[in-house]
Amino acid sequence: MAAVTEHLTHEHPAERLRTNRLGLWLFIASESFLFAALISARYYLLGTERSEHLNQALGFAISLVLLTSSLFAYRAETAARFGDQRGFRRATATTIALGLLFMVGVVLEWREGLAFFPPSTLYGSAFFTLVGFHAFHVFTGVVALALLLFVGRDGRFGPENHWPVEGVVKYWHFVDVAWVFIFPTLYLVK
C-alpha cells in the first residue's frame, strides 16, 4: 500500500509508517466528534431518561462479543507483524465472525426495540440513530477485515508490510471504544 505514496512523497518507509499513523489518529479524532454529537443529542433531549423495555442482557452480551473481538483483532495485527500467516488468517476470521455476531445481536435488539420504542418516540430516535451509526461503523470494519483476509491470502503481510492490517485493526479498536461510551449512554444511565 505504501509504495505509491512513498514514491509520491519521497519518504523513507519508516517515516511513511509514522505519517500513516498520524493520519489515522486524526481520522479517529474526527470520528469521535461525530459520536460526541449524537451522544450529546441523546442527553440534550432526554437527560438520563431511558425506556423501561430495554433488553439489558442482550445489550451486555453483544458488548462482550464486541470487546472480545478486539482481542482477536490485536492478535491478527501481531501475527501479521511477525509474519505468522496462519495466525493472521485465523485471528482475522475470528474477528470478522464476532463482528457479524455483534450485528446479528443488533438486528435482534432492533426487532424488540421496534415493538417497544419505535423511532417515532424520542428514546427510539436516539436509540436507533446511535446504534445505527455505530453498526454502520462495525459493518465498514467487517468489510475492511474481509478485504485484508482476501488480499493477504498470498502471505503479503509481514514485518515489512503490516500497515494495512495495523490501520484496520486500530480502526476496529476505535469502533469498540465508541461502543463503550454508547452502551452506558443507551442502556445503563438512569
Partner: protein, 606 residues
C-alpha cells in the same frame, strides 16, 4: 476521458442505489419512491463517480490486492483528471471556486435587484431559494477556496515538501466537490429549498424535496473538508524540510494548520445535525418534532457548534495571507510572530465554546446568555494579537503598494469594522434588537468578504506569478483593489444602518422608509459586481499572454520563491535546508534557507 468515466460511474451508481432501495421497498410491500431511493442513489452515484474518475485506477485497486496505476499526465489535460500533484489540485480548487463565486455573485445581484423596491418583485418562495443558494454557495467558497486552493498549492512549497502527506486522499477531497455542485444545482428542479444555508428545523423537516439534496450535498462537502483538513495537518506536522522547525514556518502555514484543526473536528457536527434532519424527514424519527417530544433548538446547538468555528476556518487562512503579504511588502520581519501564532491557536480553542451567541433570541435557557456573551468577547484578545502583529509589521515599514499589499491593507480596515460591529452582536442587550437584521448581514459580510475574500484576492495576486509563471497587469490589479474596496464600503455600510432601523434579513419586501438604504446598496452592489469582470479579464488574459514571470518577482524570502515559476512537478531541484526565520528582512547576514543554485529553467516551463 476520466470525467466521462466518472459520469458513467455516477449514472451506474445512482441506478444501482435506486434499484436496491426500490427492491427493498417492494419486498416490504411499501410503495416505491419518496426520498430514500434518491438519497441512497445520490450516495452510490458519488461513489461511482469517484471510482470512475480515477479512485479505482489510482487507489481502490490496491484494496483488492491489484497494482494501482498512477500516471503523471502533463499538459492542460492534467487538470481534468484524478491528479495527485498538490499544485494541480490547488489550481483545480481555485478555478472551481472562482466559478462558484461567480455564480453565487450573480445570485447576490438578483437579491439586490429584488430589494431595490420595497415591493415583492420576485415571489417570496423564489426569493428564499435564491437567498438560500447564494448563502450556501458562498459558504462553500469561503470554506474551500483559500484552504483547498491556496493552502494546497502553497503549503507544501512553503515548508519544502514534495507533496502533501496523502496525495491520493488530496485528489479524493477535490473530486468530492463536483457531486456537491451537481446536487445543489439540481435542487431547484425538485422544489429547491427555502431554509437558508442554516437549514433550521422545523422548516427544513417539512419543506420541499430540494432540502434532501441539500443535506446529501453538505454531508459530502463536509467529508471533503474533513479529509482536506486531515491532510493539511499531517502535511504540516510530518513533511517539513530539514531545519523547518514549527516556529520557522511562514505564518500562512500556521493559519492553515489552525483552520484545519477546526475543519477536521467540528465539521462532524454539521454533518450530524443535517443527518438528524434527514432522519426526521425520511425515517420517522422525532429529534426536532416538538409534537413527538423533540426540540428544534437541539439543531441550533449542533449546527452552531460547527458553524461558528467554521467562520474561523474561513478567516484564519485569510489572516495568514494578510500577515504574509504585509511582512513581504513592508520589507520587515513579521512583528510578534509568536503572538500571531498564539492568536491563531487561541482562536481555535475559543471557537468551540462560543456557539450559543447565535441563539440569544432563540428561547434557550437564559442562564446561558451571560457566559456565552463573555466567552465570545474573549475572542477579541487572540484576534487583537493578530491585529497587533499586522499593525506592528507595517509600522515604519517601507510599504510597497502593489496589488497584493493594497488588498492586505483593505483586510485590516474591513476586518476592524467587522470586528467592532461584532461586539454589538455578542452583547445580549444589543443583540436582542439586532438579531436577524441587516446589521448581522453587514457584519458577516465585513468579516468574511471584507476579511477572507479580500485576503483571497491578495493571495491570488501574490502567488499568481508562482502559479501561472506569468505576471498579471499591475495597473488593472490596482484598479481592482481600489474599486472593490470602495464599492464594498458603499454596499455594506448603509446596510448596518438599515439593520439598526429594523430591516430584517431573508425578506423580499420591506417598509417604505428603508428604501433609500436599499437603493443605495443595490446600485453600489452592481458597481461592486462589475469589477470582477475586469479582474477576471486581467487574470485570464495574463495567464495566456502575460509577461513571463521570474522565479521571485517580489524578492520575497520564503521557500516557494526559491524554485522556478511555476515549480517543477517535484517542487524543488534539491531538498531545501532551512537555517533561519522566515522573514529575515533588514537583518544583515540572516537567511531563511541555505542558498542553493537556482534552477536554470526559471519561468514558463512545465
Amino acid at each position: 476521458m476520466a470525467i466521462l468515466k466518472g459520469i458513467a460511474g455516477a449514472v451506474a451508481g445512482y441506478a444501482l442505489g435506486f434499484a436496491v432501495v426500490a427492491a427493498a421497498q417492494l419486498a416490504m410491500g411499501n410503495p416505491v419512491g419518496g426520498a430514500v431511493p434518491v438519497v441512497i442513489g445520490s450516495v452510490f452515484a458519488t461513489v461511482g463517480w469517484l471510482l470512475g474518475v480515477g479512485l479505482w485506477r489510482a487507489w481502490a485497486r490496491e484494496w483488492f490486492g491489484l497494482e494501482p496505476r498512477l500516471d503523471v499526465p502533463t499538459g492542460p489535460g492534467r487538470y481534468f483528471r484524478f491528479n495527485t500533484d498538490h499544485k494541480v489540485i490547488g489550481v483545480q480548487y481555485l478555478v472551481t471556486f472562482v466559478i462558484v463565486f461567480g455564480l453565487a455573485g450573480l445570485l447576490a445581484m438578483v437579491i439586490r435587484w429584488e430589494l431595490i423596491t420595497p415591493a415583492a418583485d420576485l415571489g417570496g418562495d423564489a426569493y428564499n431559494q435564491v437567498m438560500s443558494l447564494h448563502g450556501i454557495l458562498m459558504v462553500a467558497v469561503a470554506v474551500a477556496a483559500v484552504l483547498g486552493g491556496l493552502g494546497n498549492y502553497c503549503v507544501p512549497l512553503m515548508i519544502g515538501a514534495r507533496d502533501m502527506a496523502f496525495p491520493r486522499l488530496n485528489a479524493l477531497s477535490y473530486w468530492l466537490i463536483p457531486p456537491v455542485a451537481v446536487l445543489l444545482l439540481t435542487a431547484p428542479f425538485v422544489g429547491g429549498w427555502d431554509s437558508g444555508w442554516t437549514a433550521y428545523p422545523p422548516l427544513s423537516v417539512v419543506n420541499a424535496g430540494g432540502q434532501v439534496l441539500f443535506v446529501v450535498a453538505i454531508v459530502i462537502f463536509g467529508l471533503s473538508s474533513i479529509l482536506g483538513g486531515l491532510n493539511a495537518i499531517a502535511t504540516i506536522l510530518r513533511m517539513r524540510a530539514p531545519g523547518m522547525t514549527l516556529m520557522r514556518m511562514p505564518i500562512f502555514v500556521w493559519s492553515v494548520l489552525a483552520a484545519s484543526i477546526i475543519s477536521l473536528l467540528f465539521t462532524q457536527f454539521f454533518a450530524a445535525s443535517l443527518i438528524l434532519v434527514l432522519l426526521d424527514r425520511v425515517a420517522g424519527t422525532t429529534f426536532f418534532e416538538a409534537a413527538g417530544g423533540g426540540n428544534p433548538l437541539l439543531y441550533q446547538h449542533l449546527f452552531w457548534f460547527y458553524s461558528h468555528p467554521a467562520v474561523y476556518v474561513m478567516i484564519l487562512p485569510g489572516f495568514g495571507i494578510t500577515l504574509e503579504v504585509l511582512t513581504h511588502f513592508s520589507r520587515k520581519p513579521l512583528f510578534a510572530y509568536k503572538g500571531a501564532v498564539a492568536g491563531f491557536l487561541g482562536i481555535v480553542v475559543l471557537s468551540g465554546i462560543v456557539w450559543a451567541h447565535h441563539m440569544f433570541t432563540s428561547g434557550m435557557a437564559h442562564f446561558m446568555n451571560i457566559p456565552f456573551m463573555a466567552l465570545t468577547e474573549l475572542i477579541s484578545i487572540p484576534t487583537g494579537l493578530v491585529f497587533l502583529s499586522a499593525l506592528g509589521t507595517i509600522w515604519r515599514g517601507r510599504l510597497w503598494l502593489r496589488t497584493p499589499m493594497l488588498f492586505a491593507l483593505a483586510v485590516l480596515f474591513n476586518f476592524a469594522i467587522g470586528g467592532v460591529t461584532g461586539i454589538y452582536l455578542a452583547d445580549v442587550a444589543t443583540d436582542i434588537h439586532l438579531q436577524d437584521t441587516y446589521f448581522v448581514v453587514a457584519h458577516f459580510h465585513y468579516t468574511i468578504v471584507g476579511g477572507e475574500i479580500f485576503a483571497l484576492m491578495a493571495g491570488i495576486y501574490y502567488w499568481y506569478p508562482k502559479i501561472t509563471g506569468r505576471m498579471y497587469r499591475e495597473g488593472l490589479g490596482r484598479l481592482h483593489a481600489v474599486w472593490m474596496f470602495l464599492a464594498f464600503q458603499l454596499v455594506f455600510l448603509p446596510l448596518f444602518v438599515a439593520g439598526i432601523h429594523g430591516m430584517n434579513r431573508r425578506i423580499n419586501e420591506y417598509v417604505e422608509p428603508l428604501r433609500g438604504y436599499n437603493v443605495f446598496a443595490s446600485v453600489a452592489a452592481f458597481v461592486l459586481g462589475a469589477v470582477f469582470l475586469i479582474a477576471l479579464g486581467n487574470l485570464v488574459w495574463s495567464w495566456a499572454r502575460g509577461r513571463v514571470a521570474e522565479a521571485n518577482p517580489w524578492r520575497a524570502t520564503t521557500l516557494e520563491w526559491t524554485t522556478s515559476s511555476p515549480p517543477p512537478p517535484h517542487n524543488f531541484e534539491q531538498t531545501p535546508e532551512v537555517v533561519g526565520d522566515p522573514y529575515p528582512y533588514g537583518e544583515p547576514g540572516a537567511v531563511h534557507v541555505r542558498p542553493v543554485t537556482v534552477p536554470t529553467i526559471a519561468g514558463g516551463s512545465e
